[in-house]
Symmetry: C2
Subunit: 435 residues, 2 copies
């Protein structure tokens, strides 16, 4: 086994800014070949529909099928999968779904309107999307929580049809994932993976209905396909590797902090776990805890690779100095392992989710605290938000002018539209001036 | 001059669905050459910074400059441009900015939090982005209203730095556009156009600061560049040609309806204007009005090309039959030129902006009614919203668990994380269980 060589930085050293920038640098690479391969797959699905999906199932998922019926699961099969789960898993999924629902219900936007002093009715009508698609990756881990976090906000928003696709290599699909689909309100499941799943959701086939928006994580094929269909449908944010930034005042058990860092690092070798403290002795004790605990971890190899490649300990002279680093890093997950986390909030401008206090491990947020675990990565918390109900609602502006209001507004439109040389706009408003 | 041949459809005819689909079909085409050209320009700006911007200004905008100072305008120059405007234009810009501000202030999202029955503090902290970029196209029309509509929602959201870029062919920049920047709170202007402007905003140069989000319309180079930098920064929706759908009960002056249709058609030859009525005689009278008024229009040629290529009159047996067509078309602009537009609202699921009643011409919304004129096109109102304050705010989830709450939640996390084979997640939560 290779050794642990997690980076040790001090914010006062020359070259710290450069070292930090290098540490944070991450760019998704989607080369021309991949773009072309994905474009070809999308074209096959657009032109051949179900026939292409059946052929690609054999080609990519080692699951030869004769018809789409073998790739389609309805409400009865979804419910049956849930029933097959152990009681403890059933209860845990229900508990998670209830808490996630309760939190997301607070995000529901309501329609509003008002009448201004000219007598113009102005407002915004909020409606849910009709139909959305949730992509759930296959792979090693059966991502039940991902189903809950992607589907439930749509359900809370009032989306009528929630279509899930997930690859079923060799025809195998995990009951834990299907059980999560059951508690999350998924209405149909298609056993499709990769770019072909995204193409089917975006354009529809004889069997798969076209959706309005596609959300959920995936590999490079899935991510590239989502980018290519963006505009035809909505998509969620572009996700990079998962990250955590832990700020600690030195008074939390180092074993707790070590395990919190592991919980990000175990995701993938390019996940990022960073710890900041002003307490050099605490940083040493945490490093010792990491070295002691790492060999006990099931995913020790991934954790070690991740910590070596992208992990860091950063010492700052005063703990308050961490605030500027938080806003520079704009972390996906921010753990404030300090005595008074409330006092930090007003200074935090950019973070996906903020875990307040020593007891609030990031893992609570991944599964059942209530907020969404789909969060902006790689500094994109500067402009992206957690996935939420707002991602599945949309707005229509309302404008209703009385005859006199249309006359008054029309005079201003005339000046501005003529200033822009758009005379049909001007005349459309002018003909309603009644002076 | 070519003749007017606007399509006449009847919803009861065989083949109507196919004809409607063909009428609505629109796909942005961004070929491989354009993608590569834009990628090259972005790479030049990333590696050479200001030097690349100065070189490209000469190459694309026929504006040879020696330094970025010649491409940079600050607060004093922006204010001076406003002062040079005629009093009527100044007043109209101020009137528009005030109304747009008042409407958008209703969109401001507030932070919220609650404590649940386990004692977990849960909430959402809402913050503004730090810095955004507004792209304003050059070309024939000086798009002052576009500056107002793109910049003011950012200002209302509390964005500190609002950076505008606009091409200045030959070094010329329009006072009307700069005056709009003044009333809309733009803080800096750079005379940059095309993909190089988008690259500078996304990655920053020695002079141009990198922004968090880029909004605003542009040509194919600009649109392709925005797609390529998406993820590094946020972008607004992908805009297609402008469109209007007018529903009329036959009781509005046909001249009014004709001019409302012209006001979309004059934008470009691929703009779309559609009229639906159950009153065949009214449709005939409106066609006559179009034929009579068209020769009087400054932009008659564009209007005719647009109406011939993408315009349509659709007759329906009953006016209520228009409702299904509205939701199918999901129009950018919907004019309800009917006696009781309120009665229609509950049935309208997809529309960018709804103009209620005979007096409410679409042009009011373009300039000064209050709502934004940046709206989802080409059916994307199924999942996109008008540009708004929400596009410049973002959210951070808040989670604060007490020792006892962390213990209770930890038991559920243990079941779910172990079900997903993520044991570091499980142990991170389990170590806080205190039974």
């Amino acid at each position: 086994m290779s050794s642990l060589t997690i980076k040790q930085l001090r914010s006062i050293d020359d070259g710290f800014d450069t070292a930090l920038n290098q540490l944070l640098a991450w760019e998704s690479v989607s080369d021309g070949n991949l773009q072309q391969t994905v474009a070809d797959i999308i074209q096959q699905v657009r032109t051949e529909g179900d026939a292409a999906l059946c052929r690609l199932s054999d080609q990519f998922d080692r699951f030869p099928v004769e018809s789409m019926a073998q790739l389609s699961l309805g409400a009865i099969e979804i419910a049956a999968a849930f029933e097959r789960l152990p009681a403890q898993q059933k209860a845990a999924l229900r508990f998670s779904a209830e808490r996630v629902t309760a939190y997301h219900e607070k995000q529901i936007a309501q329609s509003w309107r008002y009448t201004d002093d000219l007598g113009v009715v102005l407002g915004q009508q909020v409606t849910a999307m009709d139909r959305v698609g949730i992509y759930v990756p296959g792979g090693v881990a059966p991502l039940a929580s991902s189903v809950i976090m992607n589907a439930l906000p749509a359900k809370v928003a009032g989306v009528r049809d929630i279509i899930m696709t997930t690859p079923a290599p060799g025809g195998q699909v995990n009951d834990f994932v299907l059980g999560a689909a059951f508690v999350a309100g998924v209405t149909e499941v298609y056993l499709l993976g990769g770019a072909q799943a995204i193409a089917a959701l975006a354009y529809g086939t004889e069997t798969v209905p076209a959706v309005d928006k596609i959300v959920g994580p995936g590999n490079a094929y899935v991510a590239t396909a989502k980018q290519q269909v963006f505009g035809k449908v909505g998509i969620d944010m572009i996700a990079g590797p998962s990250e955590i930034l832990v700020i600690c005042d030195g008074l939390t058990d180092p074993d707790w902090i070590a395990m919190d860092l592991f919980s990000q690092a175990e995701h993938s070798h390019d996940a990022q776990a960073i710890l900041i403290s002003h307490d050099a002795e605490f940083l040493r004790r945490t490093l010792a805890a990491i070295e002691r605990l790492l060999p006990t971890m099931e995913r020790a190899d991934t954790i070690r690779r991740s910590l070596n490649a992208r992990g860091a300990f950063i010492w700052v002279p005063k703990l308050d100095d961490a605030k500027a680093l938080i806003n520079k890093i704009a972390p996906e997950h921010l753990e404030l392992s300090v005595a008074d986390p409330e006092a930090w909030l007003p200074d935090i401008r950019h973070a996906g989710a903020i875990f307040m206090g020593r007891h609030t491990s990031e893992a609570l947020g991944d599964y059942c605290a209530g907020p969404n675990h789909v969060l902006p990565t790689s500094g994109t918390a500067r402009f992206f938000s957690p996935l939420g109900v707002y991602d599945f609602q949309k707005r229509s502006s309302l404008i209703g002018a009385s005859a006199s209001a249309a006359s008054e507004l029309g005079k201003v439109v005339s000046v501005l539209a003529r200033g822009e040389l758009l005379t049909a706009h001007a005349r459309s408003a002018e003909q309603r001036i009644n002076d």
